[in-house]
């Protein structure tokens, strides 16, 4: 290895790549679970607020925060994808090839996750929360 890598840097680097791969879809999972459960359970109970907080506001948060998370993961995956090129490196092409593949997969996953969160946001704009 041309660059000295402390164990901590290695750990952070490895985990950062995983965030770049799975961060977006994790954010989407949070979005789907939160937005759905807030909506179904609050409406079933006949509330239009969540402990005093308006339901639309809660749902908006359940859209916007995950969207921010997915965007961050997207940025990380772009970074990783650009920095890890198969021919970039230090002769160990199997690791760079693997990391490049993962970054590529992450790039697409994050884009897709962002699209799903955005479409959910569109639904939240169009439909009143408790309409059946």
């Amino acid at each position: 290895m041309s660059e000295r890598l402390s164990p901590r840097a290695a750990l952070v680097g490895g985990l950062l790549l995983w965030f770049a791969v799975l961060g977006g879809v994790s954010a989407w999972a949070v979005h789907a679970l939160a937005a759905w459960s807030i909506d179904e359970l609050a409406c079933e109970a006949g509330h239009d607020n969540l402990a005093g907080f308006p339901l639309t506001g809660a749902i908006a948060l359940a859209v916007l925060l995950p969207a921010a998370g997915a965007a961050a993961a997207l940025a990380a995956s772009v970074l990783a994808w650009r920095r890890v090129r198969p021919n970039h490196g230090d002769g160990d092409e199997r690791s760079t090839g693997r990391a490049h593949l993962l970054a590529f997969v992450g790039l697409w996953l994050n884009t897709l996750a962002l699209a799903m969160i955005a479409l959910g946001g569109v639904a939240a704009l169009v439909l009143p929360p408790c309409q059946r």
Binding site: E3, S6, P7, L11, G13, L16, L41, A45
Partner: protein, 215 residues
């Protein structure tokens, strides 16, 4: 790990290398045994089961609406569950200590640690029995959905504690048989993981079943 003297400097340097090509290609996790992976995945799937169970609890609770607990059942008492927590959660420590011991080749430490866990886990089950004997007078698992949830969640966890204790007994027996040492203690490690998992689930139960109705 990293050099002490200029901690800030190394941190910035670490971050730079971590986000560079060399850092990003780090394999993580790496070098684990098949037993480690097998137990990790088993705990993952079991954890999903408990997550679904807790999800069901909240789904049923919020679909049911107030009051919760329904039908005049009192909010769960906290004293006994807190004592149970105080017994069960620290029982992870003897397992850790036992594992640390066998890593240095100290079989006596392994055996003593496992024995400690066994005693604490057994105490927990005994306390759960006492709790049941009190609560059963008020309501049972057929009373209503709350009763069903309470007994299903706690019994299911109790069954996991029992399985965990059986595993610890089995380890203890194997340790008397003389199979473990500094190089051979994978079984101790993975049983330890299972036990920590059982502990962690109890913390989630404490929140879900005992504390959340008071929120």
């Amino acid at each position: 790990m990293s050099g002490r003297p200029d901690r800030l400097g190394t941190t910035a340097g670490d971050l730079r290398t971590a986000t560079g090509p060399v850092g990003l290609v780090t394999e993580e996790p790496v070098g684990r045994s098949t037993a480690w992976w097998g137990m990790t995945l088993f705990i993952t799937t079991e954890g999903t089961l408990f997550a679904a169970l807790f999800g069901s609890y909240f789904y049923l609770r919020f679909q049911h609406g107030a009051p919760w607990p329904p039908d005049g059942i009192a909010e769960p008492e906290l004293l006994l569950p807190l004592i149970m927590t105080a017994v069960l959660v620290p029982s992870s420590l003897p397992v850790l200590w036992a594992e640390a011991g066998i890593r240095r080749g100290r079989r006596w430490q392994l055996r003593a640690g496992l024995l400690g866990t066994l005693v604490m886990g057994g105490t927990f089950l005994g306390l759960q029995g006492i709790e049941y004997s009190e609560i059963l007078r008020e309501y049972t698992f057929t009373t209503n959905v709350y009763g069903s949830l309470f007994y299903a969640i706690t019994t299911f966890h109790g069954a996991h504690v029992t399985v965990g204790l059986l595993m610890v007994c089995w380890l203890l027996a194997a340790s008397l048989h003389g199979s473990f040492g500094t190089r051979r203690h994978e079984r101790v490690r993975v049983v330890g993981y299972y036990w920590h998992f059982v502990d962690a689930v109890w913390v989630a139960i404490l929140f879900t079943v005992y504390l959340s109705p008071r929120l």
